[in-house]
C-alpha cells in the first residue's frame, strides 16, 4: 500500500498532503489506463459511429474515402474498447481493494445503506456528501451499469462486424445471436447505447467536479496520478472496518497494533 504522510524535506515534486491527511495510492495504473482508453475510444467511436448511422460529412473530390476511413477508425477503436474492458475486467479480480468487483455491486447491507445515503445527498436531502476512499456505492453501481453497456456494445459490435467480414472464428463466437435477435435490432441497440454513454459522460464529468470541490480530496487529480488525499481518521476507520493493518497511516501503526501485527 503506497501512502505518504506529510514530508517537509526538499525534492518532493508532488503535492503535499495537508496536516492530518495522507497521500494514498488508490487507482493503480491498469485502472487509470483502461479508464483513459475508454474515454478516448468512446469519443472516437461516437464520432465515427454517428457518421456510419447518418453520414453528416459531404464527401468531395474524386479521391474521397470518408465512409471507408470512418469505418476503419470505428473498427480499430472498437477493438481497443474491447481491450480496455478486458484489462479492467481482469483488474476486478486482481486489483487493490478499491478496484475490485465488490466496489461496484452493493454486496453488503452497509454498502446498500450507504448507497441510499449518497442518493439522499444528490436528492438534496442531506447537507454534506458521504465520504469514501474509493467509489461510493452509487457511483460503483452506475459504473457497473456502464461496464454492462460496454459489454453490450462490444457484443453487438462484434455481431455487426462479423456480418461484414464473414470470419469463421468470429461467427463461431457470436453467430448464434442474429437468429435470436435480428441484426437490425442489434444495430438499434448498438446505436441507442451510444447515447447512454453520452448521458453518462455528462453526468460523470459533473459529479467528478462536484465531489472534487465538495470533498477537497484530489479526486480529479487522482485519475491522472492515482493518488487521493485522505484524512488519517478516515483511513483508520477503513482499516478497522476491513481488518487490514496495511491501510493504517504509518504514525498510527504503533498505536493500534500489537507485536504480532494484528489490529487491537
Amino acid at each position: 500500500m503506497k501512502k505518504t504522510k506529510r514530508e517537509t524535506g526538499a525534492g518532493h515534486t508532488w503535492k503535499q498532503p495537508e496536516p492530518g491527511h495522507v497521500r494514498l495510492y488508490v487507482w493503480e495504473w491498469p485502472v487509470r489506463f483502461s479508464h483513459w482508453l475508454l474515454v478516448f475510444t468512446i469519443i472516437s467511436l461516437s464520432i465515427t459511429g454517428y457518421y456510419m448511422h447518418a453520414p453528416y460529412v459531404v464527401a468531395r473530390g474524386r479521391e474521397a474515402y470518408v465512409m471507408g476511413t470512418m469505418r476503419f477508425v470505428h473498427v480499430v477503436s472498437g477493438f481497443v474498447f474491447f481491450a480496455a474492458l478486458i484489462i479492467r475486467g481482469v483488474w476486478f479480480f486482481i486489483g487493490n481493494r478499491w478496484s475490485r468487483w465488490d466496489q461496484f455491486v452493493p454486496t453488503t447491507k452497509k454498502r446498500l445503506e450507504q448507497l441510499i445515503a449518497v442518493g439522499k445527498y444528490y436528492g438534496f436531502m442531506a447537507w454534506s456528501p458521504v465520504r469514501f476512499i474509493g467509489h461510493n456505492p452509487m457511483a460503483g453501481a452506475a459504473y457497473a451499469v456502464v461496464y454492462g453497456m460496454v459489454f453490450v456494445e462490444i457484443v453487438t459490435g462484434l455481431v455487426l462486424f462479423s456480418e461484414t467480414v464473414h470470419n469463421s472464428t468470429l461467427t463461431f463466437f457470436v453467430g448464434w445471436i442474429p437468429p435470436l435477435i435480428d441484426v437490425q435490432w442489434l444495430r438499434e441497440i448498438h446505436f441507442l447505447f451510444m447515447f447512454g454513454f453520452w448521458m453518462f459522460f455528462i453526468h460523470h464529468i459533473y459529479t467528478a467536479i462536484l465531489v472534487s470541490v465538495e470533498e477537497q480530496n484530489g479526486l480529479m487529480d487522482s485519475i491522472f496520478s492515482g493518488y487521493k488525499f485522505i484524512p488519517e481518521a478516515e483511513l483508520l476507520e477503513e482499516a478497522e472496518a476491513s481488518h487490514d493493518p496495511e491501510l493504517l497511516p504509518d504514525s498510527m501503526v504503533v498505536d493500534v497494533m500489537d507485536e504480532k501485527g494484528a489490529l487491537r
Partner: protein, 369 residues
C-alpha cells in the same frame, strides 16, 4: 405428357429453343451455382439424359408472383427450360385441368410417384383455426402440404411466403401463417427466399439436383449458399460511392441522378444477403439498386418485420408511439441529463449558501465560554 417420350432436345425444338440457347442456359446455371465452367458439359449431358421427374407446384397463401417471376423470366424464359426438364403435372396457375380432375391428378401423383416427385411450394400456410383460411378443393393448405410434401423426393419452398410466411405472416398475422418447414416439420425443405424468388436460382437448384442428384450446400435457414451467402452490399455497383461517402439525400436529388449510394434513404443492402446484384432480373438486365431504389432485403428472414421501415436506416423504437426514431430518443435523453446536471449545480449553489447560513446560526447561538 407426350413430350416425355420424345426427349429434351426435340421438346426444346418444339418451343423453338435452339441447341445454342440450351448450352447458354447450361453455362448460365453453372455460373449461378458458382461452379467452374468445365461443368457446363456435365450439366448439359445430365440434363439431356434426365428422365424428367414429376414436378408438383403447390400454391397456398400467395400472390402467384413467384410463378409469374418464373414464367416471365427472360428470352427464352428460364421457365421454358424448367418446364421441359420436368414433367410439370400440377400447377394451378398454368395447368389446363381444373376442379375435381385437377385434384385427382395430384392424388394420382402422390399415389403412383411416391418418393419420386419434386414439390415446389409457393405461398404461406395458415395454421390458425385449423388452417381454414386457405382451402383448395375442400382441403386445408396444411392438410395438402402434409400429405404431398411428406411423400416427395425433395421440397422446394420458393419466395418469402413459403420460406418463413413472408408478408402473410408479418405482424399481426391474423391467419397464423407460417412457412413450409414450420408447417410441416420433419420434411426436408430447401428454401429460396426472395420476394419474388429469382428464377435463375430456382432453376439452378433444380439443375443441380438433376445433375448431381442432390441439393447444393445450404446455410442455417436451409437456403443454398451460392445464392444467399454474400451481402448485397459487397456486390453492389454503388459500393464505391458508399466508401467514398457520396450519398443520395432524397429521392430525385442531384446525387440520385448521379447514381450515388442509397444508404441514407434506407437501402438495406448492408444487412441483406442475396445474389441479386450478380444474377439480376429479366435476363440479367437490372436489379432494384441499379434501377435507383434501395434494397428492401426481400431475401432476408421475416424481412417485412425485421427490415422495415424500408426508407429509414433503423426501425422505430417500440414503446414510444408511432415512428419515434432512435436518434430522437437519444438526443432528448442526453438533453434531459444535461438539464438535470444544470439543475443539480443550481441546487448545490443554493445548498452551499443555506449550509453556510446554518453553520453561522449555530456559531452565533453557541454561548461564549
Amino acid at each position: 405428357m407426350e413430350i416425355a417420350k420424345v426427349g429434351l432436345r426435340s421438346a426444346l425444338e418444339a418451343r423453338e429453343i435452339t441447341r445454342r440457347q440450351f448450352i447458354e442456359f447450361c453455362s448460365a446455371m453453372v455460373a449461378t451455382l458458382a461452379l467452374p465452367s468445365r461443368y457446363t458439359t456435365a450439366v448439359a449431358e445430365a440434363l439431356e439424359k434426365t428422365k424428367r421427374p414429376v414436378l408438383v407446384w403447390l400454391e397456398f397463401q400467395d400472390c402467384a408472383g413467384n410463378s409469374e417471376s418464373m414464367l416471365r423470366s427472360g428470352d427464352p424464359p428460364v421457365g421454358d427450360f424448367v418446364l421441359e426438364l420436368f414433367s410439370w403435372e400440377y400447377h394451378e396457375l398454368i395447368m389446363a385441368g381444373a376442379g375435381k380432375k385437377a385434384e385427382e391428378t395430384l392424388q394420382r401423383i402422390v399415389r403412383d410417384h411416391k418418393g419420386e416427385y419434386i414439390v415446389v411450394v409457393e405461398g404461406a400456410i395458415p395454421t390458425a383455426d385449423d388452417g381454414v383460411y386457405c382451402t383448395i378443393g375442400g382441403r386445408t393448405a396444411l392438410d395438402i402440404a402434409r400429405e404431398v410434401c411428406a411423400h416427395a423426393a425433395a421440397n422446394i419452398a420458393i419466395g418469402a411466403c413459403a420460406w418463413d410466411g413472408g408478408v402473410v405472416s408479418a405482424g399481426p398475422n391474423p391467419t397464423g401463417a407460417v412457412g413450409l418447414q414450420e408447417a410441416v416439420p420433419g420434411i426436408k425443405v430447401i428454401n429460396l427466399g426472395g420476394c419474388p424468388h429469382n428464377p435463375a436460382n430456382t432453376a439452378a437448384v433444380l439443375v443441380h439436383y438433376l445433375t448431381f442428384n442432390e441439393m447444393p450446400e445450404l446455410d442455417q435457414y436451409n437456403r443454398p449458399l451460392f445464392a444467399y451467402g454474400n451481402l448485397i452490399h459487397d456486390q453492389c455497383e454503388r459500393r464505391a460511392h458508399y466508401d467514398a461517402g457520396r450519398f443520395v439525400e432524397e429521392w430525385g436529388d442531384e446525387a440520385h441522378r448521379k447514381g450515388w449510394c442509397l444508404y441514407k434513404v434506407g437501402c438495406k443492402g448492408p444487412e441483406a444477403t442475396y445474389n441479386c446484384p450478380t444474377v439480376r432480373w429479366n435476363s440479367g438486365t437490372s436489379w432494384p439498386v441499379k434501377a435507383g431504389h434501395g434494397c428492401i432485403a426481400c431475401a432476408s428472414h421475416r424481412f417485412w418485420d425485421t427490415r422495415s421501415p424500408f426508407y429509414d436506416r433503423l426501425p422505430s423504437v417500440p414503446g414510444f408511439g408511432v415512428d419515434v426514431k432512435a436518434e430522437e430518443i437519444g438526443w432528448i435523453g442526453t438533453g434531459v441529463v444535461a438539464g438535470a446536471m444544470v439543475a443539480q449545480v443550481a441546487g448545490n449553489v443554493v445548498r452551499d449558501v443555506l449550509r453556510a447560513r446554518k453553520d453561522q446560526d449555530e456559531t452565533d447561538q453557541t454561548p461564549d465560554a
